[in-house]
């Protein structure tokens, strides 16, 4: 089979794009099982599993889109190189995309739009990240000397360039999670938002506890059996603590917001750890799925991106999704009551709880979001029902693929409609609607 199951005359009207399935490797804690695996290694591992599950060996997929947030400059064509290292047809095109933690979801949005437009019939979307195998760059001083050295033509010019080298230039720079424009780490930014919305330590620990409980229960009933390929000895997410409790979580020391006037509430337990992993989803047109006898788990209905100004204190860094959701709902004529499942990425427990509080706050919704009143409440029993990033971990670009595959499978089992909201660095947020097929 090849990427031409639809009509030879590509449809010019929007069609339906569906999630056929997904595959990821278990997420490892930074420095753990995947300490020596590169982004390309992990992306290929996830791709191999997807190819095997859906019999895609030798197939030319319409397009593969993936990305990594922490990416080495040598991986300029990371996704294409992963395709060449996989069993897919080498004639499968691929591109890299990066939108911080929204990378994975944005690849799904981009490829599903191509499918809807009739430009491709099938697509593989997702992402990978390694906090262990992070690129380390030479200092700015050494980099400039080396660049000038490469441009130097005469020995004198070369000596002059080298003469500018100082001992301190030899120490390398590792990437940080600091926002380039503010210098605050993501955790410190969230601590400000958590404090502004008066989110309690207990509520954050409770959300973290539920995430572990839900993820553990999903593993117990075999939910991930057809969504995951073991890798490097891991068969489950290494961060999962099925035996944790609100009491245990309450003993952890706060790590963010410790210099604020309000009590510090964010701990290693209610914040996501640095994680390694990869996740992908297989997308297709209805025609492609039918022609190839593949399942259709859910329809990708619509998506929206938003960004907020956190630089001037107008809004919290991770509140982008809070702004995107009402716009998406309005365009689709939907309210929270029309949804059966909510997948709100748990960058920090405080991120999720701040979003919920904001959508319930009438004044905020009117003043900041421009709505007529509060957007509404979300029933906790509909939220992240199969666990989320606090339990699974959060390899930045892999999270979107994990969430889309998890929600699509949930919808195929239970029916209904689901909302995804993923916050990202730079004050961004990407949100999407998925619907069950029946």
């Amino acid at each position: 089979m090849a990427d031409q199951a639809g009509s030879q005359n590509a449809a010019r009207t929007p069609r339906t794009a569906v999630v056929i399935g997904g595959n990821r490797i278990p997420f490892a804690r930074s420095g753990g099982a995947y300490a020596y695996s590169s982004n390309k290694d992990m992306l290929i591992a996830a791709l191999d599993g997807l190819v095997a599950r859906f019999g895609l060996q030798g197939e030319r997929i319409g397009e593969v889109a993936a990305g990594a947030v922490l990416k080495h400059s040598r991986d300029f064509n990371l996704t294409r190189e992963a395709v060449l290292g996989s069993a897919l047809s080498p004639e499968t095109p691929a591109y890299d995309l990066q939108q911080a933690c929204a990378t994975g979801l944005e690849t799904v949005v981009g490829l599903s739009n191509k499918i809807r437009l009739g430009q491709i019939e099938s697509g593989i979307a997702g992402g990978v990240d390694s906090a262990s195998d992070a690129p380390i760059v030479v200092s700015e001083g050494l980099r400039r000397v080396l660049l000038d050295l490469s441009r130097a033509r005469t020995p004198q010019q070369k000596i002059k360039a080298l003469g500018r080298l100082r001992p301190k230039d030899l120490s390398p720079n590792a990437p940080t999670t600091g926002e380039p424009r503010t210098g605050l780490s993501m955790g410190e930014h969230q601590a400000l938002t958590t404090a502004a919305w008066n989110i309690s330590r207990e509520a954050q620990d409770e959300l973290a506890y539920r995430s572990h409980q839900n993820l553990a229960a999903a593993y117990e009933r075999g939910f991930f059996a057809d969504l995951m390929t073991p890798y490097r000895g891991l068969t489950r997410d290494a961060n999962l603590r099925a035996d944790t409790s609100p009491e245990k979580l309450a003993t952890l020391k706060p790590v963010f917001g410790t210099s604020l006037d309000t009590p510090a509430t964010m701990t290693a337990g209610n914040s996501t750890p640095l994680t390694d992993g990869a996740a992908l989803v297989l997308l297709g047109s209805e025609e492609y799925a039918t022609a190839n006898n593949l399942p259709m788990l859910a329809t990708i209905v619509d998506a929206e991106a938003a960004a907020v100004d956190f630089v001037h204190g107008d809004e919290g860094l991770l509140m982008g999704g809070v702004h995107a959701v009402p716009r998406l709902l309005q365009r689709n004529g939907l309210t929270f009551d029309d949804f059966d499942f909510f997948e709100i990425h748990e960058a920090f427990a405080g991120t999720v709880l701040s979003a919920l509080a904001a959508w319930e706050d009438e004044d905020y919704c009117k003043r900041v979001l421009g709505l007529d009143g509060a957007l509404g409440s979300i029933d906790p029993s509909k939220l992240n029902v199969n666990g989320s990033s606090l339990a699974a971990g959060h390899p930045f670009a892999a999270t979107g693929g994990r969430i889309v595959a998890t929600l699509a499978k949930t919808l195929s089992e239970k029916g209904g409609r689901g909302l995804i909201s993923i916050c990202a660095a730079g004050g961004q947020g990407v949100v999407a609607i998925l619907e069950a097929r029946n």
């Binding site: 503010t182 210098g183 605050l184 410190e188 400000l192 210099s259 204190g313 107008d314």
Partner: protein, 301 residues
């Protein structure tokens, strides 16, 4: 130097800052051994330099050190840097009554009518005015004006304090009003300044004042440790407040406790939009010791 009408001195080009500092050191020595008289009034001289052109490589290094985008438009604080040698040449005159070395920068206020392109040719004039007593010594304003093709585009007023210098014991003194205790607002930014910040800013700005370079050179001038350049803080403040100004830009910074290097400076940016523009109020303080380093505002139209 040529004499010109109205006490104006036209310099042949931008003076060399290291040369001005050497001149200042020599003057300190001569005054210490009592060979040079100390004036009691400001010189009326205005120093002017015509035809100043921007070096694009120097501009790029300045912009990148401050973390701002390397644009072909001049950062507002960079115009201060370009004009600084002219202002310094006024302070380094033998008939200037206050000692240049060790003077403390209290505040800076800038009014800019429009954005200035790196390709524009600048006329710069600097003069001092309003010598007046201060509770801790004597303060003076140094005014710098930048013209392009005969039209004013940028005006900066820096206030300096010569600590412990009393020119007229009978004059009135502005007293330090009782300061309310400092309450740190919620930070929206955290600037990590390493020990080399002063040396790197000196390299891109030309301001090699020893109090910014290292512990030993700062101690010679009575500081406990090297401190960050006030204009480094101002430049970061202005750039972060309004990332891409298109028209008029006004700003002010008032310096409180100096920033000892290395340091972590917390900052709070609060924006208010109004018809036709925006104003961003800024506070910077020591993240560790909860002491204010500066307050300021930036207004863009």
């Amino acid at each position: 130097m040529n004499g010109a009408p109205s006490g104006e001195t036209v310099l042949a080009g931008l003076p060399s800052l290291p040369g001005l500092y050497r001149q200042a050191v020599a003057l300190v020595v001569r005054r210490t051994i009592g060979r040079a008289p100390v004036a009691s009034a400001l010189p009326s001289a205005r120093h002017r330099v015509h035809g100043v052109r921007i070096d694009l490589a120097e501009l790029t290094r300045f912009e990148q050190e401050l973390g701002s985008a390397a644009r072909d438009k001049l950062p507002s604080a960079y115009l201060h840097t370009v004009a600084f040698p002219v202002a310094m040449s006024v302070l380094a005159r033998p008939d200037f009554p206050l000692p240049l070395l060790g003077m403390v920068h209290l505040s800076n206020e800038v009014h800019q009518d429009r954005q200035v392109a790196a390709s524009e040719v600048l006329d710069i004039v600097a003069y001092s005015e309003d010598l007046r007593p201060h509770a801790a010594g004597t303060q003076v304003d140094v005014v710098t004006e930048v013209d392009v093709a005969g039209r004013r585009v940028w005006t900066g007023r820096s206030v300096y304090l010569a600590r412990g210098v009393r020119l007229d014991a009978s004059g009135p003194r502005t007293s330090d009003a009782e300061r309310p205790p400092f309450t740190a607002p919620r930070p929206t930014a955290l600037w990590t300044l390493d020990a080399g910040t002063g040396r790197r800013y000196a390299a891109v700005s030309g301001d090699w004042n020893p109090i910014h370079l290292s512990g030993p050179t700062a101690r010679v001038l009575g500081m406990r440790t090297a401190i960050a350049h006030g204009m480094y803080l101002a430049a970061r403040m202005v750039d972060q407040a309004v990332a891409a100004p298109t028209g008029a830009l006004d700003w002010r910074i008032d310096f409180a406790a100096p920033v000892p290097l290395p340091a972590v400076v917390a900052a709070s940016f609060t924006r208010t939009r109004y018809d036709g523009g925006e104003r961003v109020d800024v506070v910077g303080w020591s993240a560790e010791r909860r002491k204010p380093h500066f307050t300021g505002w930036v207004r863009a139209e």
